[in-house]
Symmetry: C2
Subunit: 188 residues, 2 copies
C-alpha cells in the first residue's frame, strides 16, 4: 500500500533496529490514514464473508474499529489485563511478548465469539506472530472460522508471516519491511 | 443521548453494583453506535476549537478514533504500560484505579502534545475522575489548553463529575447513571 509505505518512510524512525511509528499508528493516530488502511483491508478481503473483527489491545483497537466501518461488523478486542468489569467465562491463551519480554494471558469473553462465525483478525504489527497465534488458539476454542489476518506492518525478516502462511492462513500485510540497516527502512 | 441510554437499558448488565457494557462499548464494540456517539460529541463541542483528542488506553481508544472522524483531528492515547517502542521523553502522571485497585502511571510522549494546542479529552467512563485528572495533569505539564471532557457514561453517584465541574471544566456526559438498586439502572 503506497500511501502507508510513503508514510513509514516519511515519519517512521528506527531506534536500536526497532521501527517506531508512534507518530501516526500506535501512540498518536492519524485517523485519515487509518481510514485508507481500513478501505484497503476491505478491498483485500472483499471476496470473504466476515461477521466480526477480532483484535488485541492496545494498538490493534484503533485500526480494527476504523476498518470495521467498511466491513459493517462489530469488533471484539482480546484483553491483556485483568478488570473487575470483565466476565469470568473466558477463552484464554498465553502469549510471549518479545517487546515486553514476558508472557501474558489474552482473554476474550465467551459471549462474544459464536460458533460458526467468520472472524477476521487485524493487528498493527506481525513479527514473530505470537499474538496472532494466541488469537487463533482462542478462535479454535470457540469453533469460529478464521477468515484471514490483516496486518498493517509485517516484519518480513522475522518468522511470523512464514510460519502462519505455511499453515495455510491467509495473511494480508499492507507493508512488509526488511531488517533496518544503518537506521534505514526498506520494503520487501 | 437517547440511543445510548436505550442501549444501556437493553444490553447493559449490573453485577455486584457495577454496570457492564462489554457487549457494545468496551470489549465487543458496536461501531455503528460509536459513530452516533462521535457525532453527538461533535455536536456538543461544535463551538469549540479542537486540535487534538487525547484519550487513555484501553477502552477510550475506539471511542476517540471514531469521534475524531467528525472533528478531523488526530488522536493521542496515554499509555498505561511500558513498551520498548515508546519514546523516553514523556509526560507522566500517577493515577489510582478503583476497578483494578492499584496505582498506575500514564504516559504521553512529549512529541505529541504541542504548547498552545486545544485538546479535547474523551473516555468511556467517568466515576471518581482519577484518570481524567491524570490526563489534565499531563495537559498542564505540556502547556496545552483543555477544551473540555467528553464522557460516554458518567456515574453520577460518584464524585468525579462534581469535582471536575467545580473546577470550571466543561464535562459533556452522554448518559449519567445513578447508583444501581437491585440490579436496575436509572439515569439522573
Amino acid at each position: 500500500m503506497k500511501l502507508l509505505k510513503d508514510r513509514i518512510l516519511q515519519d517512521g524512525t528506527v531506534e536500536e533496529d526497532i521501527l517506531k511509528v508512534g507518530s501516526f499508528l500506535n501512540h498518536q493516530i492519524d485517523v485519515k490514514l487509518l481510514n485508507e488502511i481500513g478501505k484497503e483491508f476491505k478491498e483485500r478481503f472483499k471476496d470473504k464473508k466476515v461477521d466480526k473483527i477480532l483484535t488485541i489491545e492496545t494498538s490493534g483497537i484503533a485500526i480494527a474499529v476504523i476498518a470495521a466501518q467498511y466491513f459493517h461488523v462489530p469488533v471484539v478486542f482480546a484483553r491483556k489485563t485483568e478488570s473487575k468489569t470483565m466476565d469470568k467465562d473466558l477463552y484464554e491463551s498465553t502469549v510471549y511478548s518479545y517487546t515486553k519480554e514476558k508472557n501474558y494471558t489474552i482473554k476474550v469473553s465467551k459471549k462474544f465469539l459464536n460458533e460458526g462465525e467468520n472472524v477476521l483478525l487485524i493487528d498493527d504489527f506481525l513479527a514473530r506472530g505470537r499474538a496472532i497465534e494466541g488469537l487463533i488458539d482462542i478462535l479454535k476454542q470457540a469453533n469460529v472460522n478464521l477468515v484471514g489476518v490483516g496486518i498493517v506492518i509485517e516484519k518480513g525478516f522475522q518468522e511470523g508471516g512464514k510460519v502462519l502462511r505455511d499453515k495455510g492462513i491467509l495473511i494480508e500485510s499492507l507493508a512488509i519491511i526488511d531488517k533496518p540497516v544503518d537506521g534505514k527502512i526498506k520494503f520487501m
